[in-house]
């Protein structure tokens, strides 16, 4: 129990400390990040399709940019 609390506190301290170290990008400096080519998934319809093509033919699944469902890929 004590170990859990210690670890949770460690997590908090780590993150609070790290947050101060991370570079601060002001809201008015976010223009480039808002560009479609900076997105992890510019066109969801295309990314979902390609993820599905690979999913059906591979053993690995999960942790992709699109959220899918069961599809009869047996």
């Amino acid at each position: 129990m004590r170990k859990s609390i210690m670890l949770a506190v460690l997590g908090c301290v780590l993150v609070s400390g790290c947050a101060r170290l991370l570079p601060d990008v002001k809201p008015y400096e976010r223009e480039q990040l808002a560009d479609p080519i900076m997105s992890f998934s510019r066109d969801p319809i295309s990314d979902q399709y390609l993820d599905h093509v690979y999913d059906v033919r591979e053993g690995a699944r999960g942790a992709t940019v699109s959220q899918g469902g069961g599809c009869g890929c047996n």
Partner: protein, 177 residues
């Protein structure tokens, strides 16, 4: 079997750290909320504008000034434009001025979009982000109200539908002073 125990305790530790990290993020997120510059004198600035000439804030001393920081890539900023236009057209004849400070890297994009949205109030180009920096802008859009003596009296971060009624109340209050 011993190997499985090690794997299991590693996962247990990881889960605890993840939960701790999530708590940490929430706490830090709430703690970094900034204090507004209400009650201080609005820093003066000069910027190139859509009217073809430079505009200086202190020239508007004696009028009620609303400064709206916006960008073409910011969706809530675009949503807000028609409302700001309406406020400007309604109150500009009684001593109210609306300055739209745009922070796009490319001022041409700002000019194109404001023409498309039918913006009537002056748009100022802060592509160097110096004015945004001096005003310590921490949200897009940001809307400030400055009274006749040049003091910041009101600050609103972001945009949600209905907030323009709040703006209108505050403008009328400051106009009466």
């Amino acid at each position: 079997m011993a190997e499985n125990n090690t794997v299991r305790s590693c996962w247990a530790m990881l889960r605890l750290v993840v939960c701790g990290v999530v708590i940490g993020l929430v706490v830090s997120g709430a703690a970094t909320a900034k204090v507004p510059a209400i009650g201080t004198v609005a820093p003066d600035f000069t910027l190139r504008s859509s009217l073809g000439k430079n505009l200086k804030l202190s020239e508007y001393r004696g009028q009620v000034v609303m400064i709206n920081f916006w960008a073409t890539w910011c969706a809530p900023c675009r949503q807000e434009m028609p409302e700001l236009n309406r406020l400007y057209e309604q109150y500009q004849r009684v001593g109210f001025v609306l300055l739209g400070v745009n922070v796009d890297d490319n001022p041409k994009a700002a000019q194109e979009l404001s023409a498309q949205l039918g913006v009537r109030f002056p748009v100022l180009f802060d592509s160097a982000k110096q004015v945004s920096g001096r005003y310590d802008i921490d949200a897009m859009p940001s809307t400030l109200l400055i009274d006749r003596s040049g003091t910041v009296r009101y600050l609103h971060r972001g945009y949600r539908r209905g907030v323009e009624k709040e703006y209108e109340e505050k403008i009328r209050e400051l106009l009466r002073q």
